[in-house]
């Protein structure tokens, strides 16, 4: 039941990105979409992936977008829609939070499907080469980001 509620709200929030002209609101709608998707994934039985989604997506990627908005100093469209739908979504999030912490539903680990130890075991035994290649990929992205952002003397 929670899966359907959360994923429907995630799709609605993603659809609202296309309808708004304010790019700051679009970032916040995307954040809402990621949070609802994380809760949907949690209710289907993979808690580790939902936490990693929040940490990496909401904590790093959207933060990078916000940094770009701050650095570039763009002029935003001053179309101030009344925030009724995001307020409703926030109220639903708060209700879900209280539901999960009151009934001890979150501590009941019987519905977990994926063991995080299995992920770690697979990462270092079966997909070890891919893990090393991913680390190389991160270093390449780092070097590329530095090169593109540096001021070169002409």
């Amino acid at each position: 039941m929670f899966f359907y509620i959360n994923m429907t709200l995630s799709v609605v929030s993603t659809g609202l990105i296309l309808l708004t002209k304010n790019y700051l609101h679009a970032m916040l709608y995307f954040l809402l979409s990621v949070i609802f998707m994380a809760m949907g994934i949690y209710s289907i039985g993979s808690p580790f992936a939902s936490m990693v989604l929040i940490i990496v997506y909401a904590g790093a990627i959207i933060t990078l977008f916000m940094f770009m908005i701050m650095i570039l100093g763009l002029k935003n469209s001053m179309q101030n829609n009344k925030p009724y739908i995001p307020m409703l979504m926030a109220v639903i999030l708060i209700c879900e939070f209280f539901w999960f912490t009151r009934n001890n539903t979150a501590i009941n680990t019987e519905f977990y499907n994926i063991d995080y130890k299995e992920i770690a075991r697979l990462l270092f035994s079966k997909y070890a080469v891919l893990t090393e290649i991913c680390s190389v990929l991160l270093v390449v992205a780092l070097v590329g980001g530095f090169h593109l952002g540096a001021k070169h003397k002409r």
């Binding site: 799709v11 990627i61 990929l137």
Partner: protein, 100 residues
């Protein structure tokens, strides 16, 4: 428990919304954001199906997808920074001519 059709329909809805956003939006920052939506929908599909089949291989692929998304965002935003320096705006119609 949810079945495969519902998971697929949600993932498809998210992916198509991101695709429409990439094609429609005029701001380059919005185009990058809708690209991230598409990656997010693929990640959701991978995680949900692997949770349905009770195997952890899909979660490992999710990790690699996350690494690719993060690296792509870093490089894409650096390119956006250069674009802004060159054209003084983030309108993608400014890049119409190949002459700089």
């Amino acid at each position: 428990m949810t079945n495969l059709e519902h998971i697929l329909s949600f993932s498809f809805a998210l992916f198509s919304l991101g695709l429409v956003g990439v094609l429609v939006k005029k701001n380059l920052l919005m185009v990058l954001l809708c690209l991230e939506i598409m990656l997010n929908s693929a990640a959701f599909l991978i995680i949900s199906v692997s949770s349905l089949l009770k195997k952890a291989d899909g979660h490992v692929m999710f990790f690699f997808l996350l690494v690719v998304a993060a690296a792509e965002v870093a490089i894409g935003l650096s390119i956006l920074f250069r674009y802004h320096e060159l054209h003084q705006s983030l309108d993608i119609d400014k890049a119409n001519n190949s002459k700089v």
